[in-house]
Amino acid sequence: MNEDVSTVSPTLGFIIKTIDFQGYKLNIWDVGGQKTIRSYWRNYFEKTDALIWVVDATDRLRIGECKTELIELLLEERLSGASLLVFLNKTDVPGCMGDDEVQRELELDSISTHKWIIVRCSAITGDNLTEGLAWVVQDARDKLFLY
């Protein structure tokens, strides 16, 4: 995304960002994952088209916690219309978890209430970031023209 990533650090709190993408304006609410602010996530659910769930492919230890939080989140009524993009980040690191493994660990196949996709990516190399966002845009477009 043409940004210097060498010193990017995890989100502390919340960041709001607008990206111009394929002729659409994406309003992105980057919500930090820290435990102390998870209870504030719900302030951001209104009118959400897509939920982008970023998973650390090198953090096997917390993948269970990751699943629990995701399942909890998908129960939210105000997110019922949102599609789910699971970004498996840090896949540039050798020995990280694969998408099949994470799909299994997060039990994505049991999700019936949301349209979902899992995409391997790397915020460092920029791999697949565009592909992931393209899915989000296409999905929102499908919803728009359905009727």
Partner: protein, 392 residues
Amino acid sequence: MSEGPIEIDGGHVPALNFHQRFRQEISTLRESIDTLAIPDLTASERQASNDQVLAGLAKLSAELADASGNLPSYDQRSYNQALKELYDKLAITRASQTPKPKFSFKNKRLAAPVSETNSVSTSRSVTPTHLRDTVYGPIQDSPMPALPSPASHSEYSRNPGRNVLEQRVSADTSMIQDRDHFAVVGRSNTYVGIATITAPGIIDAAGGAQGCIVSDTADSIVDLTPHSNINPPPFLTITSVQSSLLLAPSIKGPAHITALHRSILVLSSHQFRMHDSHEVDVYLFCSSRPIIENCSNIRFASMPSRFIDTTDLRNRTNMFDQVDDFKWLRAEPSPNWSLMDDEEQISDGVWSDVLQIVHRLHDDTPEAGKVLVKEAVGGVLSKLGKSSRATS
């Protein structure tokens, strides 16, 4: 289609239109869900209609949210209820149509790894026996000192009386051992060098293709300094370790540290994430802002230049002093971490002495007698303990 009685809302035309349209779309969606139950559909057809119904429900939810300002609360409630019922109906229909999974993911950790490989085709091969057994084979015969804590992994699983956190960690650790990691698990009073945890064949030709986990270890030295042709692991996980010296000066990827206590950590990594740890001195080189969460008494200093072995690092910015505490949301500085003054840090002279012994331990293991190793490790840790607070 039965419309049912329509409440005339005081001639409020937009609201009336909404009522009509909403009911109609609900009814259409209900019919679409019913067609999902037809058994002859192919998987892709079924998926497509499922996605279409989901999208329709999503659109309707959004419209309902938009119209909520104009709708009486009774209608809002009943419409939300109608939507919810459709979601449930969809879920039930889908569940009845989806072929039964060949095995249950939920009890995966209880299932034997072998059955898992048989039933799922994965691109990665799962090590059939516990990696644990093969990886620390070279020093497997060393009798495990009967320390009350931290206990070995198997003791955790045999002892249901332990607290939840510890059980969780041990369960997750066992998961990791099934994978292609190399691991240091359940050690105490010993030295573990990178050569001894790198069993032949574990590292692939590209070098260091596996992350390393160090867990359930106490009163030990774990040395992941790269030596000759052995590459350091690309990422590092530390969990449930206490009163130890950990040397990991060349981790390229992230380091995840959980439940590390009264220890000294020398680390260079791209990312630093520490949870549930207390009383740790961290000598760090990190090119992004380090994160701590639910920690206390963590002290940071720059990793001494003697540990820096690549020019790559010298060209990067070290952000060891710009720590974010995720448990501390106020504007004042977090009380949970601090920077070490020069006199609080381990001096150059002490590092020289310590590393001399560490290098000798590396070269001698496993020939050196167990007692000598134990004494040497104890000596190093107490020496460091005098200069800082490890093992104190």
